[in-house]
Structures are given as structure tokens and as C-alpha cells.
Symmetry: C2
DNA sequence: TGCAATTTGTTGATTAATCAACAAATGAAT
DNA sequence: ATTCATTTGTTGATTAATCAACAAATTGCA
């Protein structure tokens, strides 16, 4: 698994880090490939060895974080005992620059919709086996419920970042947990 | 001038940074090439592309900083007007990890003697044109004077680092300046 | 001392990164 | 609309870094 050439990893890490840093200052569209190369201390051509263009780079960057969130989620459902495992908000916190750039800046609306899509997908999976439209939500549309609480979750995350994380991750996790328990 | 391949600079920077960081924990002799490679995130073989062995690496690292100090000194004597330029102690401060590792730890006595040698050489140059053994120090041995005040300077620097820089660079610069003015 | 494990320094084949140069596309100002 | 400058994406030749494998040297420990 860990047979990827060290240079590839280093280059990609540097490039991704550079994009995130630059995005906290500029709009994504105003960032040039040369900007990224300079910040990453990498030849401009090197970027094209790994990505089609800067949009492909952003896509890959986003998808990578989405996948991380997915894995965290899977790990959680496996070890559903008393979990001292890493939560989503822990992950958000440790990648503050990425998420706040993505959510706070208006330069990347791509991410918000992709994130929402994934959250909804995730709610489906967690609530798997039990039909959402039974119990508390009998008679309601599944799509409405998913959209409703998916957006709610994303909104809470946005608030957290735009207000510079006014409370620790586990508090957010707990409060949102209560709201979800009550409604799903 | 700036025609050195970017990869060379990156590798060397990473390697040098790694050594300095490791030296703040371990004795230099206990550090293996593999340790350095791991920390620098570089293949072990890469180190041998740039240095003979770890002692050569340490030598080059030391000599590089000595040269920086030399250039600072030359810059100072050129612009001997009101100088807002970078002083030695400014440089010491901005390379805290290197100098404190080198002076505080007992793992690298190489540096102290090299540093002393350079300080003495430097006093000679600054006092150039005027014979040291004239004026205040008439009748004294030049060698004794140079050794005396060279060691004094190094001792002050050592004190500064071992006590975690208890006063700002310009204060050190000023106080040592007074002591030198009085004696040379 | 002697054995085992680690570290060293070097090798050659392979792959990635660099650089310079290019035409094409884009953008901004006149 | 036309110019000028910047940015883009690609090219091929060159250089550096990687990896695995090796024997030799060194270390640590029984």
C-alpha cells in the first residue's frame, strides 16, 4: 500500500497545502497555477504531472477530505462502544484552514454542495435498516427530511467556522447529536 | 547565481533543518543518518549525494552560519551610518534552534571552537588599520588580548542561549558594545 | 570475547522533478 | 476592436531523488 514514490507524496502534499493557504487569502478563481507553484516551491510543470488543471486539483482535494470523513464514519459505526475515536468535528478542527476557506470564502461554492450531498448520503447510511419515515417522522417525505437535516448540519458547521470555532469539537458533536436523536 | 536546481536546495534545506531539530533532543553522535533521512523526509541515499557523512554535514552547516555572520559583519562596516541593519544577535535569535543546540548541548564542541576562532578573526578585521597594542592596550600581547576578549564574547553568547535569551538582541548588542569600546 | 543486529556507504536501474521554450488562450486597458 | 501582457498547457532533454540490494563497518549485549 505504501509503495508510492516519496517524491509524489511530497509534491502533492506541498501543492495541496499551497492551495489551501492561498485560498485563505484570495478567491480561488484569482489564484494562478504559478501562484500555487511558487507557494509550494515546486516547478509549475510539476503540478500538471499530478492534476489536469486547478479545478481538477480542487476536486481531488475536496474528494480526499470527503473520503476521510467517510472513513471516520465507518470507523465509528464499527466500534460503537464507548468511542474515544476521532469525530467529524475533531477532523474539522485539525483541518481548520481547509474547511474554513471552503465554507467561509465565497470562492468555492463547489465544496458546500458536495459536502451537503455527502452529509445526506451519510445520514441515509447511518439510519440504514430503519426506514426514516417510520416512527417520529411517519407520513413525511424521506427526501424532505434528508434535505432538511442535511442542510441543518451543514449550516451548523458553517456557523462554527465563521465564528472561529467558539466551542470545542466535542460540544458541537454532543449538541448536534441531541438534535438528531430528537428528530431521526 | 540563482541557477541551482530547486530540488537540490529543497533537499539540503530539509536535511539541515532535520539535523538541527534532532540535535535539540539527542547528542549529535547518537543521531544516525537514517534518523536524519526520516526527519527530513528524504531517502537515506540522498544525504550521501550532498554530504560525505554526518560530520561533513555538520561542518557544512556550521560553515554556512559562520559565513552568514561574516556577511552581516561586512554589511555593517559598509553602511556605518545609523544602522538599522541586522546584527549578529538578531541573527542568533532568528536561528535560535541552531545556536542553542550548538552551544548548550555538549554534543558539538566543534562549533564552539570554530565560533571562537571566527570571533577572534573578526575582532582583528574590525580593529584593522589600528594596531590593537597601541592606546589603551599599550605593552600588552595582541594574542592575549584577542583570546581574552574573543572568549569573553563567546561566553556572553553562551550565557544568553543557556538562559533562554533573557534580554532582546539589541540590549546584548549594546552592552557588549560598551565593554568592547572600553577595552579595544 | 563473540554473536546478532544495526548502521554505514555504495551501487545501478528506474522514476519523478526541473528547466527552458513554445504556441495558444485568456484578460485588461486603450 | 486591437494591442500588449499574462497565463496556460505541453514539449523534450537533463538532472536529481528514489528504491532495493549489497558488503563492510560498527554497535550493543550476552
Amino acid at each position: 500500500m505504501s509503495k508510492v514514490d516519496r517524491r509524489i507524496i511530497k509534491s502533492q502534499e506541498a501543492i495541496k497545502k499551497a492551495v489551501i493557504e492561498l485560498m485563505s487569502n484570495k478567491n480561488f478563481d484569482d489564484i494562478t497555477i504559478q501562484d500555487i507553484a511558487d507557494r509550494a516551491n515546486v516547478n509549475r510543470g510539476t503540478i500538471y504531472l499530478h492534476y489536469q488543471d486547478k479545478y481538477d486539483l480542487l476536486d481531488k482535494l475536496i474528494e480526499e477530505h470527503i473520503n476521510e470523513l467517510r472513513e471516520i464514519c465507518e470507523r465509528e459505526t464499527e466500534t460503537d462502544s464507548i468511542n474515544s475515536s476521532v469525530t467529524w468535528f475533531d477532523y474539522f478542527e485539525s483541518h481548520y484552514l481547509f474547511f474554513s476557506s471552503m465554507l467561509a470564502s465565497k470562492g468555492a461554492p463547489f465544496f458546500r454542495s458536495r459536502f451537503l450531498e455527502f452529509v445526506i448520503e451519510d445520514i441515509k447510511n447511518v439510519e440504514n435498516g430503519w426506514n426514516i419515515t417510520e416512527g417520529k417522522n411517519r407520513g413525511l417525505s424521506a427526501d424532505v427530511i434528508l434535505q432538511f437535516f442535511g442542510t441543518a448540519y451543514v449550516g451548523a458547521v458553517e456557523w462554527w467556522f465563521k465564528n472561529e470555532m467558539p466551542c470545542p469539537p466535542h460540544v458541537m458533536e454532543e449538541q448536534i447529536g441531541i438534535l438528531f436523536e430528537r428528530n431521526l
